[in-house]
């Protein structure tokens, strides 16, 4: 076994442990921090697979934006220090296990069926290729996703904002 293999098995173990901690800890902020570890380990795994762009996107978008917004949201609403009893719940453990195992099974099956040790990119960098594909073959889904995100953004603002002008119109 090569050093890279040992390293990636170690990373997978770390990923598994931090993933388990994310769901078992009863402190919201601790869960978020373990989620950072999970995402960071995933990013390192992507780097080992020479997909630097995906790794950096994981760090920039998930760690730098999603987790930060999550922490921000938790802190600005109530920010409890210490464990939160509401997060410990014993209901539906069986159901959760069945669902997560079946998702795992489905993903493993699909990925093995589709890719099974075929090397998609053998040399060069994946970033340039990714950019070209995004703006040629996948340009329509790419634009569509950005449109959906824009819609979600406007919807979020509309729901959250108590706009005085709109309220006045309703009252009339």
């Amino acid at each position: 076994m090569e050093a890279v293999d040992i390293f990636s098995y170690f990373l997978l173990l770390l990923l598994l442990l931090s993933g388990v901690k994310v769901v078992t800890t009863s402190n919201v902020i601790h869960a978020a921090i373990f989620l950072v570890f999970t995402l960071a380990t995933t990013a390192v795994l992507f780097i080992l697979l020479s997909a630097e762009f995906v790794a950096l996107v994981l760090i920039l978008v998930y760690i730098g934006a999603v987790i930060v917004l999550f922490l921000f949201g938790v802190m600005i609403t109530r920010a409890p220090l210490g464990p939160n009893a509401e997060l410990d719940n014993d209901q539906n453990k069986l159901l959760a296990a069945v669902i997560s195992l079946s998702i795992f099974g489905i993903f493993t099956y699909i990925l093995l069926q589709t890719f099974d040790s075929t090397v998609v990119i053998s040399e060069g960098t994946s970033t340039k290729l990714l950019g070209e594909i995004l703006l040629s073959r996948f340009v329509f889904p790419f634009e569509l996703v950005s449109f959906v995100l824009l819609g979600a953004l406007i919807g979020g603002i509309t729901l959250a904002r108590k706009d005085n002008a709109l309220m006045d119109e309703d009252q009339i």
Binding site: H30, I33, L60, I63, V68, M75, L81
Partner: protein, 326 residues
Amino acid sequence: MSFSTELLIKVLVVLATAPVMALGLTLLEVKGSAWMQRRPGPLHVGLRGFIFPLATAAKYLQKETIIPNDVDEPVFKWAPAWVIAAVVGLFTIIPLSPTLIVRDLELGVFFLLAISSISTIGVLTAGWSSANKFSLMGGLRAAGQLIAYELPLILSVVGVVIQAETMSTVGIVEKQIEFGFPFVISGQGIAFIIFMIAATAEMMRTPFDMPIGESELTMGFFTEYSGIRFLIFYISEYINLFVMCAIASTLFLGGYHVPLLPTEWVNFYGPLVLIGKTFLLAFILIAIRWSFPRFREDQLQTLAWKVLIPLSLLNIMATAIMKVVF
């Protein structure tokens, strides 16, 4: 040389360089402020004030670490680590010369933006875990500010990337050498100003020091820190100042090269030129810090969302049009 030895040497060199640069900038800051505001301490005491940064470091090193009762201990203890890891990690892509760089990543600029966003977590968790309302306020203000100013920072760099057609930091400098003028003159002047404003806000320096605000929040998110952990926050502030100014010089001011100097000798004068430019930019930021009052919170958010982001989007559009036309 095997990969692991090379890695070890690079890590050790970066770990030695970062505090030295921070020390240099601390000296520049205290001497600069003393010079501008006539403070006798850093001007006259102990070797004409040059002993000041070392004395500060020694003072914090021998102070006791105090951990208040109600804090969330692991989160509180590890919060400074996020911040310093993020700022030291950025040394990877600073080119002191075409070859004197930790690793010339193909996605250098993108790496910069990704890694620099990690320090926000440190600031937020520090503010939250201190179990102190002022610290929490500081942490929240810091998060709001860092989220708001990360966008203009990213968007202003996009213009440079479009003009240089590469994300590698060495590639960007080589492009400027090839072009003859640094990007700040040849097209990215507005982007440079936006980048400097956003970087100042990201570093939480005056006039953007609402999260720290010593007169109202008593140092904000690091009120409860003492001893070595306070020192880590303090040092990472200056390492961050160095890194941001070095990256601004690389992206906009021609990096390790100045026009008219022979490019064959760049390995000799490169490091000196880059560090010189960095300290010059840092001095401008220090001068700003000691001359201006701080923004109000709403003015700060307005500046980011209503002025800087639209302006940087316009800059991207203009650069893209120019790229297609010429």
